[in-house]
Assembly symmetry: C2
Homo-oligomer: 392 residues x 2
């Protein structure tokens, strides 16, 4: 795996979270990079989200660094905006870059004041530690209760040579039991203008992170950052731009699947495929409704081929369809045809559903071309334990 | 408690469900009653739902009986429509009433053929058993995995005397692990025209059952039936109509709260009060989002005063608000003022949250008059056990 050229990474423990594992993570591009972002749509967006939006606009889509702390969301606090801008300014000074070229992110407990000094006193050591080899350390430092590291890389042969992408993300883990957050950072050494980068990122996000859920809740801190520093020297032709966007989408789907698989308490990655609707939008609504139904998710946890729950959830999506047109498969095995039960070996299917990867297909017969794919996880007692039993 | 005049009830075990407890329930009005109904909006509505709609329309809002079977939803089967109309016709014959004056309902497993003969062979005995005293037997026979019977009664002194209401309902219990259904039947002896009854029922449902959830899933069989047989001889004045609607709403709220309290695995009834929004509709969206958030529901299960999760869920409702305007209370105790943490005794509040009734208040400062109240339950490991662990 070749990482993109021209990036350095660092991580260290600054004492923000109680457990002594790195909670400060830094990504720096050696040169000014094109940057694009997608942020939470939650009304209660955290201070670093608001500052990230402001900086990106002020710097006209140019950035040099992404600074993340784990252990405190810096959200709904008295000093949130001040802490975010103080830490960003301190890092900019240490890196000798404009302050609006630093992009911040935080994840962790909400409503608890974040001490800026914990970050600023550690910035010199963090900057000293920067190295092209510390990608995985930086990826680990943004995790919270995630059980596994989540990264993906891709290389793309294009006219003029190869460009590289690397991504890191964190899932819906809880810090203290207060907030789940998704963060994702992707870096590439391709030459791409900020405006193009933004369009690609929005489309790729819609086809990856926006088709994934663990529990249907959206954090105040969700952030996706994409940097393109052009260090490969390779400017993409318009055909290669399409290829690049495809690679970006696949990489982000890969990261999204990793999040779903590592959902709190989850034992299974569940992929929902929906087809035959009038529009992709309709299909996505149905897929999302199936994916977020607690009755569907608990049935899958129990390896129970309850296609009635799939039909029920689909019927609640606010999208019209005729039941006699519905075909449903579990793990590729037909359980419902034309809206009715078909004979299948329950023993065999239950065994197939014990696999760590579960595929649910909901297909309408007819000419409709609208389709969607959605990633989620099963819903186990572990989820309840993680999120409810801290005090009992 | 005085039950409404002019109704008889019966229940017996017809062998539809495996457990030998009554699974056929009958309510009969001695005379033709005004009738109104509210049905599931699920696209995959069951055969009895479709027939109930058809009969009510054909009989122009007049009905004589409500026939319910538990143990099989009569949904997504080859013979569903035939079974529904056969059983309804057989009952109509036994009662000597027009077939379109019989309203059917089913609850239970989906996608499994329902044997009409199981019902029709038992109809003579069911009709023979009819008695004004068997209201509670009829109420028990519509239950599935409900742990407790759910009924409510009300009397109203109006000009000319007293009118009475009685309601029975079932909650989101599972039969086999396939489908959750809510059924509710309310009978009254007031004189009310079908058109008036319909309007009252829609408004009362919007303020009761439509402000309640257990897991956010809507069954294919959800049905509310309201009968008014006029046996009291009392025609309501227009002032008394308003009083009656109020009593109906309170009775249905009472039934809805009973369902939420007995939600699968639930230990607590949770009431969400939201205020200060522009419109009641906005407030309801926010209340519903808070009520359906698994992170909120698991926190309440754990008696954890996580107001950050309340803020996060509210922020996802698609309704704009300013975080500095937000006040949040748990059990009447302030935990957040102007969007920021306030000091509170965590030990004291945790103790208060151990109570079986939990009140969450989310209030915006400012002139907005939009408000809503929503009932739900906490989310415990019991829910997962009930819905996922049948085969493990």
């Amino acid at each position: 795996m070749t990482l993109p050229q021209g990036y350095r990474y660092a991580a260290l423990y600054a004492g923000i979270r109680k457990v002594a594992k790195p909670d400060l993570s830094l990504i720096v591009s050696d040169t000014a990079a094109s940057a694009a972002a997608v942020f939470t749509q939650n009304q209660a967006a955290a201070a670093p989200v608001r500052l990230g939006q402001k900086n990106l606009a002020a710097a006209k889509g140019i950035a040099r660094a992404i600074l993340t702390n784990a252990g405190n969301a810096n959200c709904a606090t008295r000093t949130g905006d001040k802490v975010a801008s103080e830490t960003v300014r301190a890092l900019a000074k240490a890196l000798k870059v404009p302050a609006n070229q630093v992009l911040p992110a935080s994840t962790g407990v909400i409503g608890v004041e974040l001490d800026a000094a914990k970050i600023t006193t550690h910035l010199p050591a963090l900057v000293d530690a920067l190295s092209p080899d510390k990608f995985y350390e930086a990826a680990d430092a943004i995790l919270t209760t995630d059980l596994v590291r989540k990264t993906a890389t891709a290389s793309l042969s294009v006219k003029g040579g190869a460009v590289h992408l690397a991504g890191m993300t964190k899932g819906s883990g809880m810090i203290e039991p207060l907030m789940a957050t998704t963060l994702a950072y992707i870096v590439t050494d391709a030459v791409i203008a900020p405006a193009d980068l933004k369009k690609m990122l929005v489309r790729a996000t819609n086809r990856s992170y926006n088709c994934m859920s663990v529990d249907g809740d959206t954090s105040t801190n969700d952030t996706v950052y994409l940097l393109a520093n052009g260090a490969s020297g390779i400017k993409l032709s318009s055909a290669d731009k399409a290829l690049f966007e495809q690679a970006l989408t696949h990489l982000m789907e890969d990261l999204a699947r990793q999040i779903a698989r590592d959902g709190e308490g989850a034992k299974k990655l569940v992929t929902i495929e929906v087809g035959g609707f009038k529009t992709d939008k309709d299909a996505l609504k149905v897929a999302r409704q199936i994916a977020n139904s607690p009755l569907v998710k608990t049935a899958i946890a129990g390896s129970d081929p309850n296609w009635g729950r799939i039909l029920m959830a689909a019927g609640n999506a606010g999208v019209k369809f005729d039941v006699p047109q519905v075909d449903i498969n579990f793990q590729g095995m037909a359980v419902c045809r034309k809206g009715l039960a078909v004979d299948f070996s329950e023993a065999e299917l239950t065994k197939l559903l014990d696999e760590p990867d579960v595929l649910v297909q909901f297909q309408l017969r007819g000419p409709g071309k609208g389709r969607a794919r959605f990633f989620t996880c099963d819903f186990t007692e572990g989820y309840i334990k993680i999120n409810g039993s801290y005090r009992t």
